[in-house]
């Protein structure tokens, strides 16, 4: 019998990034007991890496902004396969969530009249991102953390959940190990909120840290919940490409939002050469107009339009891949991103402009990052950037209003849940998503726990089988190491299910994943259970393999190109077949992964009108 400690809560939140913290705060505010499990130390989750800002239609910088425009932008970015109800709630509630952060002590950058400043970002019609320089995520997580520590939430740091526990189909708790000693803890809970973040570590080049191994996705899937939209993986167009040790680390979209220009090895500003038709009316016609947009000034008496560098992330990423593939890349396989053109242009208008001070104020952590990791001064030199795996739009299928999955008592929010972003997420919508839907998840989890006051039973056979499986690698012989399997998986996904996808390559990926499964079953771990990274990696492999298979199967099924999902063999949208459906994945009775298409419920008239108002009176084909 496995030796474990048991801790009881009304609501257990797994994951302590922005979504998990916000959920925990909300649940605790309604009076139930709340436990919060962090894979790392509190306050270190990937939310700290978010740079650009929180999207919310506060209308502080442009009074024309409102929730309907934000909603329409989000739907267009997601190519209309979003869960429209989530997109609506998100746009409506984001301003209140941002103001609430200010009331909890967050200190956003200010407008001239002392309100929260908002900046431009890709896909957002108006300046919409509340921000703190380029360290908004840190501000958000620290504000929630500092607010949360005074609320009596039980925080369990450096613990990883490896199994959800069920009682007659309802959630009853979770099993975790601690890094320090490798001991088991059973968290018994009436409701569980998953907020574990993303899957970036399934790829070789990623902006995500070691934690992002698809834990919540896999825990939910293994427990019987559904995953949707797994084919949609966002490759952020600008990650560092040099030096090799920092490959993949994010270069915020804020660089482009503040006037950064992309150039190929020939010095051409290639983004002007490839603007999709549906974005032509909203894109600048020349350099001057784009820079005026950055400053929020008019162009020939009319509102200036955005520079092409601020087109959606999927499009910019593919343009960069094309430049590199066609031999116009930078020395280390990326393209150049530079601030000098804007600085020169601005310097001509204003003699007082001090480029160095300007960029240090606007992009302090980018300045820092390149200076210290790349030995490069971004105020004077061009950066080298290329796409990096950044975010997964797909995740646990949950109810739009309550965030509950199809398993009673199991909730999910933040990156590990799906729906709001559709085929592609707009920058800035992640921080607002985790505040709005994190709050909802916490609220409804607490409600569920209150209404279902009798806790589910903890079944020792579930605990026993999970612990036994976790410890097997210590008993094996042979020389299959966990790190090597992980590296090979990352190479496979990077090469075969990356930014540009093809049927035959993805079929090969499925075969490869099967072989990796077989290798996973032979992985051997040495040492003991105390803070043993080899063992932790071995346990993460199951999750990485599960989400990789889900991504691949969904990407094979969607035989069209939409948002972040690009098929070289089907380079166009096929709206008739795929424009009104989501891919849905669940475990079949025989344990194999089953996938199907499911129609999206029709969009109500009021929301259709909001979309039409932003689309020149036209309704997109997906919604007709």
């Amino acid at each position: 019998m496995a030796d474990y400690q048991q801790v009881d809560y009304d609501v257990l939140v797994i994951g302590a990034g922005g979504a998990g913290l916000r959920a925990a705060i909300e649940a605790s505010a309604s009076g139930v007991s709340v436990g919060l499990v962090c894979k790392s130390l509190l306050g270190k989750a990937h939310t700290v890496m978010a740079e650009g800002g929180i999207a919310a239609a506060l209308a502080n910088v442009d009074a024309r902004d409102n929730w309907k425009v934000h909603f329409a932008d989000t739907m267009r970015g997601g190519q209309y396969v979003n869960n429209w109800r989530m997109a609506q709630l998100h746009a409506q509630e984001a301003p209140a969530r941002v103001r609430e952060l200010e009331a909890w002590g967050a200190v956003f950058d200010r407008t001239g009249d002392g309100r929260i400043l908002q900046r431009n970002f890709g896909g957002h019609k108006y300046p919409r991102l509340a921000h703190v320089g380029d360290r908004t995520g840190l501000e958000l997580i620290r504000t929630l953390q500092d607010h949360g520590v005074h609320r009596g939430i039980g925080v369990h740091m450096e613990r990883t959940v490896i199994r959800l526990l069920l009682d007659s189909g309802r959630i009853s708790g979770a099993l975790a190990y601690d890094r320090e000693r490798g001991r088991w803890t059973v968290f018994a809970a009436k409701a569980v909120v998953l907020a574990t973040g993303g899957i970036g570590k399934a790829y070789k080049i990623t902006s995500n840290s070691w934690e992002y191994t698809g834990d919540g996705h896999t825990l939910a899937y293994d427990a019987g919940a559904e995953l949707i939209d797994m084919e949609f993986v966002q490759f952020h167009p600008t990650g560092m490409v040099w030096p090799p040790s920092v490959q993949g680390i994010l270069v915020t979209e804020g660089v482009r939002g503040e006037g950064g220009v992309l150039r190929n090895a020939r010095g051409e500003r290639f983004m002007f050469g490839d603007i999709p038709d549906n974005y032509k009316p909203s894109t600048a016609e020349n350099e001057e107009e784009g820079f005026l947009y950055v400053l929020g000034e008019k162009h020939h008496g009319k509102d200036s339009r955005r520079p092409p560098e601020l087109l959606t992330r999927d499009h910019v990423a593919r343009c960069i891949v094309r430049e590199v593939r066609e031999g116009r890349g930078s020395p280390h396989g990326g393209v150049f991103l530079e601030l000098q053109t804007f600085a020169e242009w601005f310097g001509k208008r204003s003699a007082k402009f001090d480029a160095e001070q300007h960029w240090k104020k606007k992009l302090p952590s980018m300045y820092h990052q390149f200076k210290e990791l790349g030995g490069l001064d971004i105020t004077k030199q061009a950066m080298e950037v290329g796409p990096t795996t950044h975010y997964v739009m797909g995740g646990v299928r949950v109810d739009s209003d309550t965030q509950m999955s199809r398993i009673p008592g199991l909730f999910a929010c933040g990156e590990c849940a799906a729906g709001i972003n559709g085929a592609n997420r707009l920058g800035g919508n992640s921080l607002s998503d985790l505040l709005v839907l994190g709050k909802r998840a916490g609220e409804f989890a607490a409600k569920f726990a209150t209404e279902n006051a009798r806790p589910g039973a903890i079944h020792s056979d579930q605990v026993e089988s999970a612990t036994r499986l976790a410890l097997v690698p210590f008993e094996r012989s042979g020389n299959e190491g966990p790190f090597q399997v992980q590296h090979d998986l990352q190479d496979l996904m990077q090469d075969l299910v990356g930014i540009v996808r093809k049927e035959d390559e993805m079929q090969r990926a499925l075969d490869g994943l099967q072989q990796l499964r077989a290798r996973e079953a032979k992985v051997r771990v040495t040492g003991n259970r105390e803070y043993n990274p080899g063992w932790h990696t071995a346990m993460d492999l199951h999750n990485l393999l599960t989400v990789s298979e889900a991504i691949t199967r969904a990407a094979i099924l969607r035989k069209e190109s939409r948002g972040a999902h690009f098929r070289e063999d089907f380079p166009k949208k096929d709206t008739a077949k795929f424009g009104k459906v989501n891919t849905v994945i669940a475990r079949g009775p025989d344990g194999s992964m089953q996938i199907r298409l499911e129609p999206i419920p029709p969009v109500p008239q009021e929301l259709k009108e909001a979309i039409m108002a932003e689309g020149g009176g036209q309704l997109p084909e997906e919604l007709r």
Binding site: S40, L41, L42, G43, K44, A45, H46, V48, M49, R99, E102, A103, G105, V107, D109, R110, D113, G114, R115, V132, G133, R135, L138, E139, R142, D146, H147, V149, H150, V155, M157, E180, S209, W210, E211, W242, P243, P244, S245, V246, I249, L250, P364, S365, H368, Q369, E372, L373, G375, G481, F483, V525, T526, G527, N528, E530, Y531, N532, P533, G534
Partner: protein, 250 residues
């Protein structure tokens, strides 16, 4: 570049430990954390080290490199002399869990001891507040803190004199400063600074400022102004005289 030698602290089963030698290939742009990971993958799979973002933003990989408190992810191999072994050891101010990983839970307890943010009532027409950028610049500087605890590690009050029960350390003095200087905050944390948080122990050697990876001017911009507030409150001769007189009368 070439092969570099490392001396890395490894704990043993009995709770003690010692340096073990490793060598690994160093390539361009590599940081100490990369080397540690490489050693982990090549020859020491159970070598424990804590890390996360690998971009100097989360403050997890704090350690001492050649005796200096550093974030391993922001310490470039090319800035270290490689003709002798690079020493990597855990932070000395906190108990070691294993190898390079320390138990920093004491820090989380200190934060709970600081009175939380308490904003004044919203005073703008729309139910929010107005704050000028110039009035929040200083607070924003403090809020850059990534809680790596390198300042706590280097502070002699904690490191050498072990005043963990009486002194909250530079990190949390900065936390207090960020609250005290927040334009909206109405709380008063000055009495606790003196009585419970031990601000008097700081004798402004500025070691914390030197090791801060976020370049926060901890001492000059944070601790000294807080010390001044304590002095104003408790040691102002005029104020004390008035208090004395008032007390006699009552």
């Amino acid at each position: 570049m070439a092969e570099a030698k490392f001396r890395i602290w490894r704990t043993d089963e009995k709770g003690g430990g010692g340096f073990e030698e490793y060598s690994t290939e160093v390539t361009e742009g590599m940081v100490v954390l990369d080397a540690v990971h490489q050693i982990q993958a090549e020859s020491a799979p159970d070598l424990a080290c804590r890390w996360n973002c690998k971009a100097g933003k989360c403050g997890s990989c704090s350690a001492e490199v050649n005796g200096m408190p550093k974030l391993m992810c922001m310490t470039r191999m090319s800035d270290l002399p490689l003709d002798e072994p690079v020493t990597v050891e855990p932070m000395q101010t906190f108990p070691v869990i294993k190898d390079l990983v320390t138990d920093v839970s004491w820090n989380y307890e200190q934060k709970k001891r600081v009175k939380p943010f308490a904003p004044r009532k919203p005073d703008a027409d729309d139910g929010t507040w107005r704050m000028a950028q110039a009035d929040v610049d200083r607070v924003q500087e403090f809020r850059k803190c990534i809680e790596c605890y390198l300042c706590q590690d280097v502070c002699h009050v904690l490191r050498d004199h072990h005043k963990h029960d009486e002194f909250i350390g530079p990190r949390f003095l900065i936390h207090v400063a960020a609250l005290e200087m927040h334009p909206l905050d109405t709380g008063d944390r000055v009495p606790e600074l003196k009585r419970e948080h031990g601000i008097g122990y700081c004798n402004i050697t500025k070691c914390c400022t030197k090791v801060c990876p976020e370049h926060i001017t901890i001492t000059d911009n944070g601790i000294i102004p807080l010390k001044e507030r304590v002095v104003d409150e408790f040691y102002d001769p005029v104020k004390r005289l008035i208090q004395l007189v008032l007390r006699k009368r009552s």
